[in-house]
């Protein structure tokens, strides 16, 4: 993502103080803990012009749930306005159509992470960017279904979680790789596919788009 953004002329900073957005605590029913993490995150990114995340889930947490957790003061409103998931940033802020032609001839399946899709309303952006690099984004009947990660859900109810990943894997069309804007989903799908020995390649959207530029 750093390479990709620099390639587009963006001055990238990575504040060393950053840690976690607080979503695990929030989803587990511990709002006070989530609130402290939100406060921390607010401080760390106070000076950034934009905050770009390679994770729809964390971006969704910050944009949709920080106001409820911390209150709707100016600091929060400002962070919400400045926070973007990567593909959303590339399309809506930078208005990127094509990054290159490095994915020409590649067949790609796109997994819509739940929070990018339903909380942020990011749906066409990643697909357009992949297609803009020449990739053929292949229709996949389960592309909008949850992969079964769900943070602690995958550890608390591992059998149901794995069955959900299986549904994704079993319906995959023949592709060169699967990509998504969420590390959690990719961790889940990769772990399950490896356990089953399916040999499917999973690549983060940032890496896929960088291939689109570089190859």
């Amino acid at each position: 993502m750093v390479r990709l953004l620099r390639h587009l002329g963006i001055d990238v900073e990575v504040p060393e103080g950053q840690t976690c957005c607080g979503q695990p605590a929030y989803n587990s029913g511990q709002p006070e803990e989530a609130q402290s993490m939100a406060e921390h995150t607010l401080k760390v990114f106070a000076d950034a012009e934009y905050v770009v995340l390679p994770s729809g889930s964390c971006a969704g947490m910050m944009r949709c749930f920080y106001p409820g957790l911390v209150g709707s003061d100016l600091r929060v409103a400002s962070l919400v306005e400045r926070t973007y998931e990567l593909s959303q940033f590339l399309r809506t802020v930078l208005e990127v159509d094509s990054l290159g032609s490095g994915l020409q001839g590649r067949r790609v399946a796109y997994h819509h992470g739940c929070h990018a899709l339903r909380e942020l309303g990011v749906k066409d952006e990643p697909v357009a960017l992949l297609a803009g690099c020449g990739a053929e984004v292949v229709p996949w009947e389960a592309d909008e279904e949850c992969c079964g990660f769900g943070g602690l859900f995958s550890a608390k109810l591992p059998e149901a979680s794995a069955a959900m990943a299986d549904r994704k894997i079993d319906t995959l069309p023949d592709v060169d790789f699967v990509t998504s804007a969420d590390g959690g989903c990719l961790l889940q799908l990769t772990g399950r596919a490896q356990k089953r020995g399916t040999g499917t390649a999973f690549v983060h959207l940032a890496s896929a788009l960088w291939r689109g530029v570089a190859e």
Partner: protein, 464 residues
């Protein structure tokens, strides 16, 4: 066979996934079809506006419930309907028992009613020596199999056509290769005799219009019409949350519910019942009883957030879209209402301690909130119950203490990255299974391969 209770959710869901892969196939196929029909049916109307309206009407009723209940009682009574109040399932069953005794009931036919499942009506009637027959095709199938419903709208959703062929072959003598129409015909023939013989018809109520005391029922098979009009006594069990202010509200609610449930513009049959047979009418029951049931509903209503779940019209749309529900069907949830809606009403109606696994039976993917016709904020309410569980000390210590420690670290970036560096060198493949949280993860997945360096290390060294 009855439900084993929500506390066994993990064990039961794991068992269903392991031992009954065919259930997952049946449920996934059927729910995907239901949902595709919903999408189509919502595309034909201004669904967002309908849903806003339905949410607002239901919210209005729930915030003025006492007034509407009193009005409904007055109207029902003036229609000649006898009104009973049941605070608990036991109360409801006692009332039913008295009606059975007073009216000399020997056999009953039942229209599909989730509330009657919640109350345990069949078992109670059998205990009183009353022959009871489910007349909805899906309910008939599971009654013959002695199974509880697996879905709010399609109770036999976990069963394939082949299962039904075998069952009907054994019980009704149909050929083993009978097509679905032949199976339905056989059920119709068997049920016809039951309808004609029954003294009592039992139904639920999709809606109860307070202004006119009208019980509104929606269905596809005509069995509700028969159950509520052929026997001499009709008893309708109606949850107190089923009220709507006016008869004219019912029209839109019936359509929205049908569109959400099965994608039909409206069910094949709508029954609007306003009391027993009148002197100038040729059919209808001699007696109509409405049992207004609480059974945990006022407790749910008292919750500052979860009361919104009482808007539910039992369309099953949230089950149909739920990726967790699709893996197992409804049985592992351990009680009448499964899926996302079951998980948010169970803690209020049964008590949080008993229902606790269910609010965790969700990845919080949020698909349900987009399909709810009355806009219940389901994911928010799942988190709400998780929060209450932490407050009440019902969550495992390893989880709450673990997250507290994690929070402390997350506010000290140095410590956070140091911990990351340590974890990066733990061979998860070997030791992971023993860790409290990672044990379940490692059971179903391969260990992720850690990058030798963290992103922050790479950043400090310079990314080219």
């Amino acid at each position: 066979m009855s439900f084993s209770g929500p506390t066994n959710y993990r064990r039961e869901s794991a068992k269903a996934i392991r031992d009954k892969p065919e259930v997952r196939d049946s449920v996934t196929a059927a729910t995907r079809t239901f949902d595709a029909h919903r999408v189509h049916a919502w595309g034909q109307i201004d669904a967002d506006r309908w849903r806003d309206w339905a949410r607002d009407v239901k919210t209005h009723v729930l915030t003025h419930l006492d007034q509407y209940l009193e009005q409904a009682e007055r109207q029902l009574t003036s229609n000649g309907t006898r009104v009973h109040w049941a605070e608990s399932a036991d109360d409801a069953l006692t009332i039913l028992g008295e009606i059975v005794r007073e009216d000399g009931v020997e056999s009953a036919v039942k229209a599909k009613s989730m509330l009657s499942e919640e109350l345990g009506v069949n078992r109670h009637l059998e205990g009183l020596g009353v022959h009871v027959r489910e007349t909805d095709l899906g309910e008939y199938i599971i009654q013959l199999l002695d199974e509880p419903p697996s879905h709010i709208v399609g109770p036999a959703i976990h069963r394939s056509v082949d299962d039904c062929r075998k069952l009907f072959h054994e019980r009704l003598g149909t050929p083993l290769d009978a097509d679905p129409d032949e199976l339905a015909d056989a059920a119709r023939d068997a049920l016809r005799a039951e309808f004609l013989a029954a003294d009592l018809g039992i139904s639920g109520g999709n809606f109860l219009a307070a202004d006119s005391g009208t019980i509104a029922l929606i269905e596809n098979e005509g069995n509700i019409r028969l159950s509520t009009s052929l026997p001499r006594v009709h008893v309708a069990f109606v949850g107190i949350e089923k009220l709507v202010p006016r008869l004219e509200d019912v029209s839109a609610f019936l359509q929205l519910t049908s569109r959400a449930a099965t994608g039909q513009p409206i069910g094949n049959f709508v029954s609007l019942i306003q009391g027993p047979r009148r002197s100038d009418e040729v059919d209808g029951p001699e007696e109509v009883h409405v049992v207004l049931v609480d059974n945990g509903r006022t407790r749910l209503l008292a919750d500052e957030a979860a009361w919104e779940a009482l808007r539910c019209v039992r369309c099953g749309a949230c089950l149909n879209i739920c990726p967790v529900y699709r893996q197992t069907g409804g049985h592992p949830y351990g009680w009448t209402y499964s899926g996302p809606i079951g998980a948010i009403i169970a803690p209020g109606m049964l008590g949080l301690e008993e229902a606790l696994p269910l609010p965790h039976a969700s990845s919080l993917c949020g698909a349900c909130v987009d399909v709810c016709p009355v806009r219940i904020p389901i994911p928010e309410l799942l988190v709400h119950w998780r929060e209450k569980a932490v407050e009440q000390g019902l969550t495992p210590k390893v989880e709450t203490v673990g997250l507290k420690a994690y929070t402390k670290m997350a506010q000290r970036p140095g410590l956070f990255s140091a911990a990351g560096a340590v974890l990066r060198h733990v061979p998860l493949g070997l030791g992971g299974r023993a860790l409290p949280v990672l044990g379940g993860w490692m059971q179903e997945r391969s260990a992720p391969k850690s990058s030798p360096k963290s992103f922050l290390q790479m950043w400090k060294e310079g990314i080219e």
